[in-house]
């Protein structure tokens, strides 16, 4: 098992660095290009939600990323100290709605759930933990 850890200020311009960190871990876990891209999208959307809806703005806290590259699985944990956030209370986007009625909000969580094999959320001692799991294809 290979564990790596990154802590950055919760800012949009740090998402690229977080994605790059996750790509390195995905390579260690032997994920293919498609799965690696999906991990990037899921982590990007999660961090965007933490900044936008959790901290409600940039530079209000930090995001800690822990990647565990297991033989056939990449486990990614995102930790933040924003107020609690219930993933299941976010309505799913209305895909297929006419353009004028289309709301793109909620798409981030939808992407996370679609692109990862498992998504779970917990809160302990004032810290939110979002766990994302991606299994190696094949």
């Amino acid at each position: 098992m290979s564990e790596s850890r990154l802590i950055v200020p919760a800012r949009y311009d740090r998402i690229k660095q977080i994605c790059s960190f996750v790509v390195d871990a995905a390579n260690v876990a032997g994920l293919d290009e498609s799965s690696t891209f999906q991990c990037q999208i899921a982590v990007d959307e999660a961090c965007t939600n933490i900044i936008e809806h959790g901290y409600e703005g940039e530079d209000k806290g930090r995001i800690e990323v822990i990647c565990n590259a297991l033989p056939t699985v990449l486990k990614i944990e995102l930790l933040d100290q924003a107020p609690p956030f219930d993933l299941d209370k976010v309505p799913e986007p209305e895909l297929g709605a006419p353009l004028e009625d289309m709301k793109i909000g909620g798409l981030g969580i939808y992407f996370m759930k679609k692109m990862m094999d498992d998504v779970s959320f917990s809160r302990e001692n004032g810290t939110n933990k979002l766990s994302l799991l991606k299994r190696r294809a094949g």
Binding site: Y12, D13, I15, K16, C19, S34, F37, Q40, I41, D44, E45, C47, T48, I51, E52, P93, L95, G96, L99, E100, M102, I104, L107, G108, Y110, F111, K114, M115
Partner: protein, 110 residues
Amino acid sequence: MDISTQEVKRVSVMTVKGRVDSSTAPDLENALKQLVEGDKTQIVLDLKDVEYMSSAGLRAMVSTLKSVKRINGDLRLCAPSPRVHEVLRLAGLTSIFNIYPGQDEAVNSF
């Protein structure tokens, strides 16, 4: 992310290169908004060199599409990579946007 715009046969072609994420999507949305405010309503967004796009980029494109459709214009896409196409498809946007394989086809569709 880099953005450049040129006029081709009365169509505004905006070429985007690099990553479109929460950090860069506002720049894309502003660039598109400036076109629309400058009465450029026939727009092609060339995605050939976009290596990555999150929902923030989709939001910028949908917002612009709504604006131009109200004034009888259109925002058409061309050459998305397989990864960007996957994001568009998952978001249900492949039936909302007209998407063309190349820039010439997109420009000539107007």
